[in-house]
Amino acid sequence: MSAVLYHGEPNGPSLSVLAALEESGLDIETRHIDLRKGERHALPGVTDAVALDMAVEGEGPVLVVDGEAMSEAVFLAQYFDEQAGGAGLQPEDPYAHWQMLMWCRQATERLSPAVAYLGIFASDAPSEARLSPIASEDLRARWQDWRDGAIDEGKAADSRAKIAQFAERTENQLADGRDWLMGEFSIADLETYAWLIGAQELEPAAFEGKAALAAWMERVAARPSVQKALARAQTDNPRRSFAPGPEINRWG
């Protein structure tokens, strides 16, 4: 089996997937690419590009296994955990597993679109965004809005509200004094942390006065897997590195 993980700066989905790989202990080659230049869309040796082109997640890391491109951060983390024969990243009890999946789904549907949306407009627009190789029309439209500075104030306000709600929700989840979101450490901690640190850069007020949240963020940051992932940064502040993420919910 040949496998390469292509990832961007350690923020958002690239951070959670790199940390999950470290936690799993799997020996998989990693290569740094610039997601903000669309480099993900021109990977060598990709023969099966469905999951690369059409990922709901937008610009995230891509694992290429035997020519098949694999995407979606939470599912890549589950893949690493299961490929390693169970690395302790998912609860074994079915109900606890359901709770973790529900938490991750809230994070990927509500938090990550909000952070990515505010994040791209808060950073330099792509001067030479390589839009042509992007097969997905709706993802390309999000790149074009970024290039044109076409921020929708309604979506921006909704995104700020969703970040505040998720910070509050995380604080409440930790209110009983637990160390990790699901009790035991899991993918939920990595996925949530990976988006909240970028959110904190954009909306610091949403994090003020939340002691349990702050202590939990320090605990996650202190994990060797997260430290190793952050050490792969090539810019001064990877927390400000954003590329177009999931679309803002368009129906239902």
Binding site: V50, A51, M54, A55, V56, V65, E68, M70, S71, E72, F75, L76, Q78, Y79, E82, Q83, P94, Y95, H97, W98, L101, M102, R105, E109, E137, D138, P246, N249, R250, W251, G252
Partner: protein, 255 residues
């Protein structure tokens, strides 16, 4: 074994997913029919079960579970019976990928067209005041927006065109996927087949311009294979009205 209670609408889309998963696993359950078009899901009795007011929801003993795909994953893990997920890690990844693609990209487009052409008109006989009162009871703001569009026919041309584009592309992608493997994402029947079948079984009558033995031979083969499963027939027999009639009409054509 703790008792299983399922709150669901017709065997179709989100409600049909946990119904079919339970029947495939051979798990007996008490069925609580929620009439979505009468807004049973926003009545106090149901909000006590699921404060979000979304269907389906499932009790397993005292545990309450929501979100159709996540419920299916729980059902597969918590009960004996045939495995509805393969053991290979890459197959499992692929199944999850396709379910997310359906739940968050293709499914909402099917839903928008369905609500525009069926759900909205089904409520047109109610007075505007009655419809406003129904909307006011909906807990989630996103759902209030969706129901308002459906009930007052406020869909824009552009968003309907975008949904139709996604449906045509999604059907082509599923056709391509089923040209690679016997089932969605793997070579065994799984949660991804239950998920995607629930939103595609009506394509032969609803979208014959996209789905036919000539245009989509692999999708056609797969639809027939899944249609013929005893659990599928038992599940659709639990429905009432238009969905089951339509299902049986399609089955008749294949017989």
């Amino acid at each position: 074994m703790a008792e299983v209670k399922l709150y669901h609408w017709e065997p179709n889309a989100n409600s049909g997913k946990p119904m079919l998963a339970l029947v495939e696993k051979g798990v007996p359950f008490a069925s609580h029919y929620i009439n979505m078009l009468e807004f049973d899901q926003h009545q106090p009795e149901y909000l006590a079960v699921n404060p979000q007011g979304t269907i389906p929801a499932m009790f397993h003993g005292t545990r309450i579970l929501t979100e159709s795909t996540a419920i299916m994953e729980y059902v597969d893990e918590a009960f004996d019976g045939p495995a509805l997920m393969p053991s290979d890690a890459r197959d499992r990844w692929r199944i999850r990928w396709w379910m997310k693609f359906m739940d968050q990209w293709l499914g909402p487009s099917f839903s928008m067209i369905g609500w525009c052409t069926f759900v909205g008109p089904s409520l047109a006989h109610k007075s505007p005041e009655e419809r406003e009162a129904m909307i006011a009871r909906i807990p989630l703001p996103e759902r209030r927006v969706a129901w308002r569009k459906a009930m007052f026919a406020e869909f824009g041309e552009e968003e309907l065109a975008e949904s139709k584009r996604r449906i045509a592309l999604g059907v082509r992608m599923i056709e391509e996927e089923l040209g690679k493997r016997a089932y969605i994402g793997s070579n065994q029947y799984s949660l991804a087949d239950i998920n995607i079948f629930n939103s595609t079984y009506m394509l032969p009558v609803g979208n014959p311009e996209l789905t036919s033995p000539e245009l989509t031979p692999n999708l056609w083969r797969w639809l027939k294979t899944v249609y013929r499963r005893p659990a599928v027939q038992r599940t659709w027999a639990m429905g009432s009205g238009r969905f089951t009639d339509r299902f049986n009409a399609i089955m008749g054509e294949f017989a």
